[in-house]
């Protein structure tokens, strides 16, 4: 387990990455490499600060961290929604260039993404939602699209719900429909944004089990962004822990569980206070309530004047 500083992509390679094309990455075990990336939505706020991560092919890798630490931003950088301010994101040997829309769309056809709340098209049925990418990207006959959609829905246990409208399915079911849609085109990379958020224990178990089974069955590479330690450790092969825009630890779930690093331990055990403080930075409580000012005020005046004031 490493916990000091961000792991460099070159740690897992024999040669450093070339500026545009990375020939050794094609044969490398890493499908995605995030190389010394710095990113912020605006100039004054850095979300990710010089982070490096590498994601092995065929593995489930979890990216964990508290709310607002930059986990979802990482997925957006991989999907080419945003461009890093510094550093680069490399997908299967090609640096992602957000300005090249054609290259970006070619890349996106190779990945599937499960959004936090499903992002299903509410005007379509369950069946039509799963069929949507197939109809948009292929010229398959309708009979074949039907078979593929039913197979995907069967894989997530919702073949019987094919004709339901999105408003008629529960949150857990919607997440599974979104998963069926994400794997409709058999992507090489599946990204899951908070797949366990807001689910009841049964749905959470079902979702975790599905992610593991689908990954093993399809041989895809999976990235899970979550703060759910238990479920993530249960199904992932490797995990990164991000805090305040930097990687504070990474390793297998067993390695992370056994670590002595206080920040990693605080997150995994869910301790309220520690290296990540409970309180948002603020002035001392007494000062906040004006107690110091009131205590200081009488002493500033001469005692006789105070007495005189009371006598009156």
């Amino acid at each position: 387990m490493s916990s000091a500083g961000s792991p460099s992509c070159s740690d897992q390679r024999t040669q450093p990455i070339a500026p545009r094309r990375v020939p050794n990455a094609v044969t490398s075990d890493d499908l995605i490499c995030i190389d010394r990336v710095t990113f912020g939505y605006d100039a004054g706020r850095t979300i990710l600060d010089d982070v490096s991560l590498a994601f092995r092919r065929g593995r489930i890798t979890a990216i964990m961290g508290g709310s607002g630490c930059g986990k979802t931003t990482l997925l957006r950088l991989i999907g080419g929604v945003h461009a890093p301010n510094k550093g680069r994101v490399v997908f299967d040997g090609d640096e992602i260039d957000t300005r090249n829309r054609e290259q970006l769309f070619r890349l996106r056809r190779r990945l599937g993404m499960l959004f936090q709340f499903g992002a299903l098209f509410t005007d379509l049925t369950v069946f039509e939602n799963v069929a949507f990418p197939l109809r948009e990207h292929t010229r398959l006959p309708e009979s074949m699209i039907r078979d593929i959609v039913l197979l995907k829905l069967n894989a997530v246990g919702l073949r019987g719900a094919a004709q339901l409208r999105i408003a008629e399915v529960s949150g857990g079911m919607a997440r599974r429909v979104a998963l069926a849609r994400a794997i409709a085109l058999d992507p090489e990379l599946i990204m899951y944004d908070e797949p366990f958020a807001g689910l009841d224990p049964i749905s959470m178990g079902v979702a975790a089990n599905l992610i593991r089974r689908l990954n093993d069955a399809t041989g895809a590479t999976s990235l899970i962004v979550s703060h759910d330690v238990k479920e993530c450790f249960l199904i992932s092969d490797y995990a990164y822990l991000i805090s305040s825009g930097r990687v504070v630890g990474h390793g297998t779930p067993a390695e992370l569980t056994a670590t002595d690093d206080p920040e990693v331990r605080q997150f995994i055990r869910g301790e309220p206070d520690g290296p990540v403080p409970f309180h948002y930075p603020a002035p001392p409580l007494a000062e906040g309530f004006g107690l110091q000012a009131r205590r200081a005020a009488p002493s500033a005046e001469p005692r006789s004047a105070q007495r005189g004031e009371r006598d009156r």
Partner: protein
């Protein structure tokens, strides 16, 4: 207020306005660039014509009838003072075809279909549906926005034609059936005085321009809306205000160009 601050504030407002105008124009060009792809999948456009046009028929027809009634009453009152009551059909038809048909339809369109488009696109954005499309390598401008733009452009002249037709019928009901103007005079004056190209053609052109303006404003506001309930609510309000002002301004410009030239 300090005159320097006032000037600086005015400059900031002007720069912001020009930026938004330029951004909107770029958005329109982007949509137009995506329209050929939408035409290839015309079923998407047909669905939007149905959603935008068909669901607006009731309000357009009802408003057209009411405007026709009032035009006939007001027109008869004025024309009869000059002994020209038999020209009521011509007055009603010209007023509707040239002016009231395109303008009132566009204002109603902004309130009924425009707000619906803005809210729909804004909520799609808030629900990450547009982001999901992007991640599926599907351009939302091509798949979602361009068919709606074409639907709006096609639906607007059809609705304006319906408004004018129902309005003329309303004028007939009040003028002929209630007041008692000779029906032959009513229709023949209209037939002789309304020119297909100068009056009807210009009216259709106006409503096409209004169709582009109202639909682009609605789509732009939805697409650029802040992805929160308040953001969508504000965008919907802006759609009505900006579309209405744009229609009135464009109407003045188009009328000045079309009808001011000597025939």
């Amino acid at each position: 207020m300090n005159p320097h601050d006032l000037l600086a504030g005015l400059g900031r407002w002007a720069l912001g306005f020009l930026f938004r105008l330029g951004h909107g124009a770029f958005f329109l060009v982007e949509l137009l660039r995506n329209t050929p792809a939408s035409l290839r999948r015309f079923y998407l456009v047909v669905a939007q014509i149905h959603a935008i046009g068909n669901y607006s028929v009731v309000i357009i027809a009802a408003s057209g009838l009411a405007v026709g009634f009032v035009l006939a009453l007001q027109g008869y009152y004025t024309l009869s003072r000059y002994g020209a009551a038999e020209s009521l059909g011509l007055l009603v038809a010209l007023s509707l075809v040239r002016e009231l048909g395109p303008v009132v339809t566009a204002l109603l369109f902004a309130g009924r279909a425009g707000t619906s488009l803005t809210a729909e696109i804004g909520l799609m954005k808030a629900g990450e549906q547009l982001a999901a499309m992007e991640m599926m390598a599907i351009d939302p401008k091509q798949r979602v926005l361009a068919p709606r733009l074409l639907g709006g452009i096609i639906a607007m002249p059809l609705l304006a034609a319906m408004f004018s037709a129902v309005g003329i019928f309303g004028g007939y009901v009040v003028g002929v059936l209630m007041i008692g103007i000779d029906p032959g005079q009513f229709w023949s004056q209209m037939q002789a005085g309304v020119d297909v190209w100068d009056d009807v053609g210009n009216g259709i052109f106006k409503s096409l321009v209004f169709g582009v303006a109202c639909t682009v404003v609605a789509l732009y506001q939805g697409y650029e809306a802040e992805a929160t309930p308040e953001g969508v609510a504000k965008a919907t309000t802006r759609t009505v205000v900006i579309s209405s002002l744009a229609v009135l301004l464009l109407d003045f410009v188009l009328t000045a160009v079309m009808f001011s030239a000597p025939r």
